[in-house]
């Protein structure tokens, strides 16, 4: 018996699946399962995070509901996955944030944006807040660059620390039987698998969504979101380098690298989350962990908010709306950073770790 009801159910399903194995060609979960005859909590959390929820094994299974064996791997692993986020959260005192995650994220986002608005209003003159600022250093008339850098670096570093500690706990728990050292080949393999969403593909035809006709829409929207996020992050990083190394201050002209990267990323962060949200609303509830709508939608909304406020800021940066928009955008980004370890963002971290583990297991099995 396992610690939780959902792990007991996941164990039951993996026992059914391991005596069938018809799905072994669909994704990484089933080959990983076949390497085991019994399943520890760590094994099940590993399999749960290896699952990309493409839905193919549900549609292909001769034992899915209404069959009495009641095999629903995507839903069961989705619940187990969400519970694993809380189980490995650092510090554990904050794991409760996953319980009503949508509410938690909304409150933090609202508070964060309100704090920036109020902070801007308190520290700036009305004429500055609603003034028109152009040219290098325009943003820093509202908030000094150093203050911005310190605040956001602190939030970002905290997020990194919490994520690393969580991932470490997960990695240790899924260590058996091949140990905790990751080789560079496996890491590289996992980067490729995650980067192309190799297993979000239904065994090749696409994901199952509202019916039994597979499509690649979710993969496309996820790519837009993920690479949008990466581009925005790259934009900020390049801007930081410009600032410190080249002493060039934002805002930059539209053709300059940070703006180009940010614009492309921002478009991705608007279209991607809208697509993912629509897909989630339309998806067959049988495949979903519906009790986590809040967490999923909360994260999608945070990304969308970041993208929208950033794009508005770009478009309206030479108008009187710049001050309030900058506050909103910074508020959104700040909230995104500090909630990253306590929301849906962590799925990427754990899934990546699971992919590294899987690449290792394949290598050790293949004897290479």
């Amino acid at each position: 018996m396992h610690g939780t009801r959902i792990l007991d159910e996941a164990d039951r399903l993996m026992t059914v699946c391991n005596s069938c194995r018809y799905c072994e060609g669909l994704c990484a979960v089933f080959p990983a399962m076949e390497m085991r005859r019994a399943f520890s909590d760590g094994d099940l959390n590993y399999l749960a995070n290896l699952c990309h929820s493409c839905g193919a094994c549900y549609v292909d299974c001769q034992f899915s509901p209404p069959h009495e064996f009641d095999v629903n791997v995507p839903k069961t692993l989705a619940v187990a996955r969400a519970e694993s986020y809380a189980a490995y959260a650092w510090p554990q005192a904050l794991s409760g944030a996953f319980a009503r995650n949508g509410l938690v994220i909304s409150i933090i986002a609202a508070l964060s944006m309100a704090a920036f608005i109020l902070g801007f209003a308190a520290l700036n003159d009305r004429s500055v807040l609603f003034g028109v600022h152009t040219g290098p250093g325009a943003f820093y008339k509202l908030m000094p660059h150093n203050a911005m850098a310190v605040l956001f670096s602190a939030a970002f570093l905290y997020a990194i620390l919490a994520l690393v500690m969580s991932m470490r706990a997960f990695w240790r728990d899924i260590g058996a039987p091949i140990g905790n050292r990751a080789d560079s080949g496996s890491i590289f393999q996992a980067i490729r698998d995650a980067g192309e969403l190799r297993y979000l593909h239904g065994g090749g035809v696409g994901c199952y969504n509202e019916d039994d006709k597979p499509t690649d829409r979710r993969k496309l929207y996820h790519h837009l979101t993920f690479y949008g996020f990466i581009l925005c992050f790259a934009a900020t990083s390049v801007a930081t380098l410009y600032h410190y190394l080249l002493a060039r201050e934002a805002p930059y002209p539209w053709w300059d690298l940070p703006v180009v990267l940010g614009t492309l990323g921002g478009i991705g962060l608007i279209i991607g989350p809208i697509g993912l949200f629509t897909a989630k609303m339309r998806r067959d509830p049988a495949l979903l962990d519906e009790s986590r709508y809040g967490m999923d939608v909360g994260f999608i909304a945070m990304l969308f908010l970041t993208g929208v406020t950033g794009m508005l800021l770009l478009i309206l940066r030479e108008t009187a709306a710049m001050g309030p928009l900058l506050a909103l955008h910074l508020g959104a980004v700040f909230a995104l950073f500090i909630t990253m370890p306590y929301g849906k963002f962590v799925h990427g971290i754990y899934r990546f770790a699971a992919l590294v583990r899987y690449a290792q297991e394949r290598r050790s099995e293949g004897g290479t």
Binding site: T15, V16, N18, S19, C20, R21, Y22, C23, E24, G25, L26, P31, E34, R37, A56, C57, V59, D60, C61, Q62, F63, P66, H67, E68, G203, G204, V205, D212, K213
Partner: protein
């Protein structure tokens, strides 16, 4: 009220869908009537995994060539010659093209990943299994404009002088209670889920049979056709039966209730007595005979008994083995006579001769001085915990069918071909598979004859 189609396909599995797609591609309007609800569509196809097709060279998914001649020899061996050579060779020849044709219908293959079955050279595996294959065929059929109805049970067939006229339905479909069509393709499977029918040959023992497929394989279409003058083929008393876990559900336990651990232990009946050489032959022969052997035992139950040393030698099982620290404790849990089981195991252990165990060949580990002997893979059962799987006969399919010719056209009693009735799949498998079985052959029969039946049915409808 009635409505009219070029081709009516009765059934919803591999053969039926191949026929429907092939007929539709041949220009016919097609209606598929599947008697089962949508989830259970496809009869035994939903539990299949692979198909045996001849091929002259290795492919991406097949490790080496499997010639027509070799296929024919395998078929001859498993059927003991009970096959129609002309039809069988025709099927084998056609199977070569099916490898590609079925992919054009949306079905995807996967490389044999090993582990489960050693069929990487001869058999092609469906990515995601039989239900995935079915899903792909249904999507293609619907995209082509084939009409499909579920829960559409046929109550009666109007047939005159070997000519199909109409099907009468139990419940109205699309507002109609009668469907007329120019051609009929019967692809509605065998009668393995019809316990009453099985009892005609097996008596009350059939009550203890477990059925590996859905409860909808009742053979009602087969019965109607035979009653209305179609010539029968195949031994009506025979069915394909394997030993499956006695804890499996009555219907539709599928592949996962099977046991392949016989070779690693002994098998006893409810009196704790051994009754057959557990080491007679290697897979798949030993796999296929145990259903029938168990069916012949009292109460149609038996127990595979082994010890803790061999637990990891076979696939993990759905139901865990029943365990006891002593033979007597295990016997108690199995409700067997402890003294009798102890005696059987003691005698077996004493009869085991030294040898080198290798389950991949007919090794030299055998018994001496007991009846029945265990002629290979005999090792002492002596390391607790002692373990057991209870097993019952699991019925896979029946052999009785309708006789057909190379066009998949049904032959009437007296040998005259029907004007417009075709058959494909398990309902006519007995033409080529008079007895026995080799993995993946049922699907070959289904796809090859389904494709032919659809094509011929459409051709007839157009003329």
């Amino acid at each position: 009220m009635s409505s009219k189609y070029d081709v009516l396909v009765i059934g919803g599995g591999n053969a039926a869908l191949c026929a429907a797609i092939s007929a539709r591609r041949g220009g016919a309007s097609v209606l598929v009537l599947e008697g089962a609800p949508k989830f259970y569509r496809g009869g035994n196809t939903r539990h299949t995994r692979n198909m045996r097709c001849a091929h002259d060279a290795a492919t991406e998914i097949l490790t080496g060539p499997y010639t027509e001649e070799e296929f024919w020899e395998d078929l001859l061996r498993v059927t003991g010659g009970e096959t129609d050579e002309v039809l069988a060779r025709h099927m084998i020849r056609e199977s070569k093209d099916i490898l590609n044709w079925i992919v054009e219908q949306g079905v995807r293959w996967q490389p044999s990943l090993g582990g489960t079955l050693s069929l990487g050279r001869t058999n092609s595996f469906f990515l995601g299994g039989g239900r995935a294959m079915l899903n792909a065929l249904y999507l293609t059929a619907e995209r082509l404009g084939v009409a499909v109805e579920y829960d559409a049970e046929v109550a009666d067939l109007a047939i005159e002088d070997g000519m199909f006229l109409a099907a009468r339905l139990e419940r109205p479909v699309r507002g109609e209670t009668e469907i007329r069509a120019t051609s009929l393709v019967a692809a509605a499977g065998g009668f393995e889920a019809n316990i009453e029918w099985l009892k005609q040959y097996w008596g009350e023992a059939a009550d203890n049979f477990l059925i590996r497929g859905t409860p909808y394989n009742r053979g009602s279409i087969l019965k109607m056709l035979l009653d209305k003058g179609v010539q029968e083929v195949g031994d009506p008393t025979q069915c394909h039966a394997v030993a499956i876990d006695a804890r499996a559900p009555k219907f539709d336990g599928g592949i996962i209730t099977r046991h392949d651990s016989v070779v690693f232990g002994i098998v006893v009946n409810k009196h704790a007595q051994r009754f057959y050489d557990e080491g007679e032959d290697i897979w798949p022969k030993r796999y296929a005979i145990w259903g029938r052997l168990v069916a012949a035992q009292p109460d149609q139950i038996a127990y595979i008994i082994f010890d803790s040393t061999v637990v990891t030698s076979f696939m993990p099982t759905l139901f865990p083995p029943i365990a006891g620290q002593t033979v007597a404790e295990l016997a108690g849990k199995l409700e067997l006579d402890p003294a009798a089981l102890e005696k059987t195991i003691t005698e077996f252990n004493a009869a085991v001769r030294p040898g080198t165990f290798d389950h991949t060949i007919l090794d030299d580990c055998r018994t001496e001085g007991i009846t029945p002997p265990k002629t290979h893979w005999a090792r002492r059962i002596e390391t607790p915990p002692y373990l057991a799987y209870p097993v019952r006969p699991g019925i896979t399919f029946t052999y009785l069918g309708t006789r057909v010719n190379k066009e998949a056209r049904m032959l009437m009693k007296g040998g005259k071909p029907s004007a417009n009735m075709f058959a494909a799949g398990e309902i006519m498998a007995g033409n080529v598979l008079g007895k026995g079985y080799a993995a993946g052959m049922g699907m070959t029969i289904g796809s090859v004859f389904g494709r032919i039946a659809g094509r011929e049915a459409a051709k007839h409808a157009r003329n």
